[in-house]
Symmetry: C2
Subunit: 356 residues, 2 copies
């Protein structure tokens, strides 16, 4: 399949983003949600920051304290109680599954473009962690326009786990926090842009410490705030690029053949690729087709190297005249941009035979 | 506090319950939900069964296959890939947090009594695992009467994790499955018996593999099917009987002072006790009081010894003329019964000072 990566990728890098405080540095501007507002392409960037630290014997970690003030805690790298081998988080020794602190704290920043290629990044945060469920940051926003409002779902990380928050905005200046729509642990929530047979639908990715893989579920709602009738939509596939974990990427796009969803798949080497699903237009819990091979995989240097390399991770796409404009985070670091034909995606997928 | 344990405890033991199949044996009849229907006390028993096995070199585990047929898989106890040390589950070697199979499969059986002390157990199951989310069994039912229906929440266990299912019945003969109301992993869901300011409320216990303890959350709904605005209600307490895990027990009881909730707390030795919470009558996310010490703890031999000892675990209570009738599972094995005064519970709790 022909993938047209933008020649001047990455389109946004951490170095072009102003830190929210003088004593912090931006280390990531990635995994953005995308939409069109007032004729402009808007990226809701995840901006990861950490305290500036010139002492290579220590790690400084940022977090909101119980009074919701941003504080910094310093760990000595010789502290034998902790494992500092993960660039993203600090773990207790011997417990790599769970983490104690994140090494950075993320907020959301808007970037705007009139041509979809050149973006101007706001100097100030749009949404900053602001409640006890967000004390370690907010991550990976997806935005869906429903009626006249823009609904933003994102991961809120704290000592209480990883919950999915919903916020809405009508003007990309102010927003309303509408509460946690999925309790811990859930992530990767993509809202469908309209009701289907009287229900809203959301793709989501709950996970259990007891049993089961990270797979994509689908849930329904009548009001966007309360969700239920949770079902597994689609599972990981042994031996494939999506064998270890899968999660929704962009909010689903309405096509003549069904709902098109770009999702991320992770393999046993923690390599993140993007593939596609096609869901029944009247019953999105029914799968019509799935990518056998990835549509987009980390190949370019900006996709294979960075804060956490070998990652392409899209939280949003725009369709325009049969062309998919995919904006995607690379290596937990920067934003890149690619174009490809909707028809090519639909032709590339493996269609399931209907059950008799 | 004066706790009056029934003199002839336990009131139901596995030996008095007929297996659902001739090749199975009942190993547990415990953790029952309780309600009053047509003047009778009804227990919704969790009945755990396993295949009869005379070969002490093997373990036979029951499960529903992909066609929802009950099957048995045999493990050789010498198989070095697995750890057979947990009486409740089979784990992969080196991974005690996650399990591969359960050693028994649970269903729900009704037991009825006219005096609240002597129960007749039905010969046939009331609800049996019947869908892909229940392939390892259904566990720990709680029942709440809302208007004229009885709503039963329970844990459904499968390779997809542990989800909370909702079923309803009007007659305790047939039931409707209303779907998964909380996705994996969640447990210990107790529904309030009425709407409070236009919302239903549920206590629940989601958990994350990444970070955070097993604590009690509260969620709201307008229709009992879809849930949101998830919030942490109350946390574990270091160094106390409820330091490791807590979860809702009985559906909350309406009292003059507020909503009274009996919850279970687990300490670092996996000892399960029951304590109480008092929640604001108009805003159940607000805590008024909490037990400093357990109300009920495993002391009697039937509470300290059994399939999984040192456990008292109540999923339901009845109040009658100021007396609490607590039905509770003991040692993941049998059912016991105790009475105590509502006033004594309310007097025993530690009241939080209102924030100024």
């Amino acid at each position: 399949m022909n993938i047209n990566r933008y020649c001047d990728n990455p389109i946004i890098t951490p170095g072009t983003v102003l830190a929210s405080r003088k004593d912090f540095q931006v280390i990531g501007a990635f995994n953005a949600g995308v939409t069109v507002f007032n004729g402009e392409t808007i990226l809701i960037l995840r901006v990861a920051e950490r305290p500036i630290n010139s002492d290579d014997k220590s790690i400084k970690v940022p977090f909101l304290d119980d009074n919701l003030n941003l504080k910094v805690k310093t760990f000595n790298k010789n502290d034998e109680n902790y494992d500092f081998g993960d660039s993203r988080a600090i773990h207790k020794k011997g417990n790599v599954a769970a983490f104690e602190y994140l090494t950075s704290i993320s907020h959301f920043r808007l970037a705007r473009s009139t041509d979809g290629e050149h973006f101007k990044v706001d100097e100030k945060p749009f949404i900053f962690p602001a409640n006890k469920y967000e004390s370690f940051g907010i991550e990976d926003p997806r935005v869906t326009k429903i009626d006249d409002s823009y609904y933003i779902t994102y991961s809120a990380v704290s000592k209480f786990g990883i919950v999915v928050m919903l916020s809405s905005t009508d003007d990309f200046k102010t927003f309303n926090n509408l509460g946690a729509i999925f309790a811990t642990e859930n992530k990767d929530v993509a809202l469908f842009p309209e009701k289907i047979n009287e229900n809203y639908y959301a793709l989501n990715r709950p996970i259990s410490p007891s049993i089961g893989n990270a797979v994509i579920w689908i849930s329904e709602s009548t009001n966007l705030l309360h969700w239920g009738n949770h079902k597994v939509l689609i599972e990981t596939r042994d031996g494939k690029w999506d064998c270890k974990k899968i999660g929704a990427g962009s909010p689903p796009l309405k096509t003549d053949l069904g709902w098109l969803e770009f999702y991320h798949g992770v393999d046993d080497n923690d390599r993140y690729c993007m593939g596609a699903l096609l869901l029944d237009i009247n019953d999105p819990s029914k799968i019509l087709a799935r990518s056998s091979e990835p549509i987009l995989e980390p190949i370019m240097e900006y996709e294979t190297k960075g804060f956490f390399g070998n990652v392409v991770f899209s939280c949003g796409t725009i369709v325009n005249h049969g062309v998919i404009h995919m904006y995607y985070g690379v290596s937990d670091d920067s934003m890149a941009y690619a174009q490809f034909k909707l028809k090519d995606v639909l032709d590339s997928m493996e269609y399931l035979k209907p059950k008799k």
